[in-house]
Amino acid sequence: MTHEEGLAKLEAKRQSALAGGQGKVRDKHIEAGKLLVRQRLEILFDDGFDFEDGLLAGSERDLPGDGIVTVIGKVNGRDVAVVANDMTVKAGTWGPQALLKFNRMQELALETGIPLLYLVDSAGARIDQQKELFLGRNGWGNIWYNQVQISGRVPQVCVLFGPSPAGAAYVPGLCDLVIMVDKQASAYLGSPRMAKMTIFEDVTEEQMGGARLHCMFSGLGDVLVKNDAEGIEKAKQFLSYLPLNWTENAPSAQATEPNAEAVGKIDTVVPINQNVPYDVHQLIDGLIDEGSFFEVKELYAKEMTVGMARLGGQPVGIVANNSKHKGGVIFSDTSDKAARFIWLCNAYNVPLLFLQDVSGYMIGSSVEKSGIIRHGAKLLSAVCESSVPRICVLVRKAYGGGYLAMSGAPTHPDAMLALPTALPALVGPEAAVNAIHYNRIMELPEEERADFVKQKRDEFAKDIDVYRAAADSFAAEDVLPASRLRDDLIKRFRIYSRRDAKVINRRSAVHPV
């Protein structure tokens, strides 16, 4: 073979691998409105990727890349490692070389300390190769083993463009953030066909594990997007709040002023009447750099609003009760949602801002049965374990265990601030009088009870006052109007970020789940 022939052979092989799978599968993929894997990468990277590993894997068996593309390139000027399934090659299944490529990119991301993005569109494990790839040390399970080793060291983000069934569903399950494309993405342990056969359930793919199901009900999905391109844009945006790895600071951006309309209303946006709900987004908009809110799990457990934002250009994770939904009360799912978001921020040096307006954890036999204590403990655990700068703002209600779960003073935030609308107390006047004076009330003649109860409630209500309960006793560092809060938060976070992280030396906490 001459040099020219050798080069031509190589070029032909490269071009064939770059073209991906051909034929019906490819046509179907395009007809469904989905982008091909290399089109996705083109949108993702600033100016193409820097290098690719394993392009020619599978080339001797006519399986371009063995169904997977692994590359490193720059996203918004910063390095990112990518593992991307190619649905046009054996339905994106994991064959032996795909697995090696997958594992190598996980290893490389961790060793070099750069985020790892999984662009998932795969029918999962290549079942006809289970003999080689299921049981042994080098089997498929290494993917999840690696994900767990990586967790909290470099960010792992998943964009789910199509299926990720059975074991593969744990790829998104073990990521820090999962973005799902509406009507295309799906994740389930057992397919509808398998469910029909084994448990006699007859449901569609969408009902079993569609993007909406996961973003609204299961909580596996964090962000629901309309199409592939929006999914990639969201992933890029999310990465912009995080450092490349846990040893670095969260990156700052150009500061912008908050939305002027929201700023204009900020001192009157919280209703004085504590029973009246309002949308906490109005308060958030008046505090943060305009347009910087990246909401996580917007459609799930809406009584708690969480997301990344910027304050004067610096990233901050916001955890806010939203009384517009279910009164802002904390349920099991609410606790799950907030705890996980706190873990995420804490892992990647993103300071935490709590906006507290909570009448407590939900009570009643139904939530007890479903484990509100066990699930609720996650939020307390995440708050108390967090070591990043943390500020708690008492916006309005600050009752009972909810006060602590939302980073109340005994959980050692760097500061507790209060708005003049704050109402901190263990319990409200109604419940308190009923608990303290129950026997006395019962002993009174019926006609005297109402007056007695009212008098005691009024007395008790006097103490639920921000000046008596928080300012005078120095439980709160300051009481200030919402219009001064942004400026104060920026200055405080700047100072608190100077302190060392309070990392406890131990093998692991025993986490409540």
Binding site: G327, G360, G428, E430
Partner: protein
């Protein structure tokens, strides 16, 4: 088959916002619950016309209790 809008949490019906024959859109208030000392609106997760109101003001409801049927 009739469809239903259900209570989002346990509480009492403080106020009903719809009556038989009313039409409503996604996100409209169906009722306001009193629970955990808060006024908690139950918003429609669908749109349609009310066939029947299944609860009265003052009724105690659980999470999932049907409030209205609609088509």
């Amino acid at each position: 088959m009739a469809k239903f809008i259900s209570s989002t949490m346990a509480g009492t019906i403080w106020k009903l916002e719809l009556k038989e024959g009313d039409t409503f859109d996604l996100g409209d208030k169906v009722a306001i619950l009193e629970s955990m000392k808060m006024e908690i609106p139950v918003e429609a997760d669908d749109s349609g016309t009310v066939l029947k109101v299944l609860v009265q003001e003052g009724d105690v409801v659980d999470e999932g209790t049907h409030l209205i049927s609609f088509s």
